[in-house]
């Protein structure tokens, strides 16, 4: 049953919110020991569901009435443990609801629990959590990260919809590896108030689900201007879930991405699917040059190192008990120590400034492409995910982000839809759209998933 059908059943009384939540709690009880998608399950979820059922009877329920929503452990939910999968914040309980959580609660979505992730959102495998790795419910490879628990929870049917965050691909990478749908909204589309930041100039909260309708509906609710987050834009939020028919469009593929894709089977599959989608909607397909796009990884990491170092100075042990440097994963430590080093006065800001300038260059490349075409289609990762426990050196792990990072650097929106299986591993097709073009992006994602 997809999200639209389930909402119809809940609103017509055929399925109660209590029964929906109960069924998820049963699945979590059975599967979570093995998958380790949830770090915390909301003990009051059933109580919340009862209240929603009463509202449904009175005809006063919101748009998410009775749906089970999982939340990545980096987004504040009042009175729930928001640990960032770290020992540093192991005992931290959210002191307030993030803007997105307030909006979900207002629409009667039920927070079913807090999901596992790579410690402080640093990693793309799901193996960097201080509370154990998350398993991929679909295959014997890593689930991807850093929103590993959110993706695994959706893929294992432990919730209806999950929230994740995406700084360089942390929603799209696990969505691809777990065979589900995911979206990274444009920078400034969704309020980050209440998000514990990894890299303030790149982070965005986004959505994971088994179908595009669920994502579109959630995006309608969480998008929009917030006075609490000055980077949000006051632009209209349309009804994303009323998918539009998109005509006369041009879809682009790029030789640069083809060259960067190390597993040629992945690129061949994406190209074939792009052509199929184009045929279905009468779109044109063309190749486009994207100069300097191969510098995305080298541009992204100096920015993230410096901003993570800066953003985590508050975690000095005085307020929450543990110093981050003494209680985090090796990858977080690498970024903090590296960020501290390259921020030193003796370097005169060379690394960060150079990276910021290159970020502008890559944004310009992508924005120029959108003057000629409507969408860019590309793989989500250049390789299939590694097996659990198979150690990669940091540079090899960073290279996994090569296709997702450009969207963050340019501030555009990007989505992933499942398109096939290679060696038993799900593969997702990534779609880039220009900034604040979520309405058309979601419509294309819906077309791509319809048979």
């Amino acid at each position: 049953m997809n999200i639209k059908q389930k909402l119809d059943q809940i609103k017509s009384g055929k399925l109660s919110a209590v029964d929906n939540i109960k069924s998820f709690l049963d699945i979590i009880k059975k599967k979570n020991k093995d998958i380790n998608a949830f770090l915390y399950v909301n003990e009051k979820a059933l109580e919340d569901a009862k209240k929603v059922d009463e509202k449904i009877k009175k005809g006063k329920a919101g748009k998410l009435a009775g749906l089970a929503i999982a939340v990545k452990a980096v987004i504040n939910v009042k009175d729930m443990p928001i640990s960032c999968a770290s020992k540093t914040l192991e005992n931290y309980y959210g002191t307030y609801d993030a803007d997105v959580i307030e909006k979900i609660k207002k629409e009667d979505g039920i927070i079913i629990g807090i999901t596992n992730m790579d410690c402080f959102a640093c990693g793309s495998t799901g193996e960097n959590s201080m509370f154990g790795s998350t398993k991929n419910p679909k295959c014997d490879r890593v689930p991807g990260g850093s929103s590993s628990g959110s993706a695994a929870a959706v893929a294992a049917n432990m919730c209806d919809i999950a929230l994740g965050t995406d700084t360089g691909g942390s929603i799209r990478n696990p969505a691809s590896h777990c065979g589900i749908v995911g979206i990274k909204p444009s920078y400034g589309r969704v309020s980050r108030c209440g998000l514990i930041d990894l890299s303030m100039s790149l982070d965005q909260i986004g959505v994971l689900c088994n179908d595009v309708y669920g994502i579109a509906l959630m995006m309608e609710i969480i998008s929009g201007y917030s006075k609490n987050d000055p980077v949000t834009y006051d632009k209209p939020v349309t009804k994303y879930s009323n998918f539009k028919k998109i005509n006369n469009i041009t879809i682009a593929l790029s030789k640069e991405f083809e060259k960067l894709c190390q597993d040629k089977r992945i690129y061949a599959l994406i190209k074939k699917k792009a052509e199929e989608v184009a045929k279905k909607i009468n779109a044109k397909v063309q190749n486009i040059d994207l100069p300097n796009i191969d510098l995305s990884v080298q541009t992204y990491y100096p920015i993230v190192y410096v901003e993570l170092f800066s953003g985590t100075r508050k975690l000095d042990g005085r307020k929450y008990g543990k110093k981050i440097e003494e209680s985090c994963s090796e990858e977080v430590l690498r970024r903090i120590l590296g960020g501290r080093e390259i921020s030193k006065a003796e370097h005169g800001g060379r690394y960060y400034r150079k990276a910021l300038a290159a970020k502008e260059l890559i944004a310009e490349t992508i924005n120029k492409a959108f003057d000629k075409v409507d969408f860019l289609i590309l793989p989500t990762t250049p390789l299939l995910p590694n097996k659990l426990g198979e150690k990669l050196d940091p540079k090899a792990e960073y290279a996994f982000d090569a296709f997702t990072i450009p969207a963050n650097l340019a501030g555009i929106c990007a989505g992933v839809v499942p398109v096939g299986i290679i060696d038993g591993v799900p593969v997702g097709m990534q779609i880039f759209a220009k900034a604040f073009d979520e309405e058309r992006l979601l419509s294309l994602m819906e077309s791509a998933t319809q048979k």
């Binding site: 009042k78 009175d79 005992n91 931290y92 309980y93 959210g94 002191t95 307030y96 000055p230 980077v231 300097n292 510098l295 990884v297 080298q298 541009t299 990491y301 100096p302 190192y305 042990g317 005085r318 307020k319 929450y320 008990g321 440097e325 090796e330 430590l333 690498r334 970024r335 120590l337 590296g338 080093e341 390259i342 060379r350 690394y351 400034r353 150079k354 990276a355 910021l356 300038a357 290159a358 502008e360 260059l361 940091p394 540079k395 960073y398």
Partner: protein
């Protein structure tokens, strides 16, 4: 790995990355991009009783109405 080894590895990665960026001509421009949206503090503080309770629940050590900080570390 020791902290020193991790730092050395991180610095090496950063040096390689920035060396790659050195090869392209990039114009550096800085400053606020959206000056119209600078956040200003609110004049009035909302009632903080509940918020204080939650913040105190997170503090490692408290006494009466204060956090206890470790003197040596300062």
């Amino acid at each position: 790995m020791t902290n020193e080894e991790i730092l050395k590895q991180a610095k090496k990665i950063m040096d390689e990355f920035v060396a790659a960026l050195d090869k392209v001509k990039v114009k550096e421009k800085f400053g606020a991009q959206r000056e119209d949206q600078v956040r200003t503090p609110e004049k009035e503080c909302p009632d903080s009783t509940e918020f204080r309770k939650r913040i105190f629940k997170n503090a490692p050590k408290i006494k009466d109405d204060y956090f206890i900080m470790e003197k040596k570390e300062w």
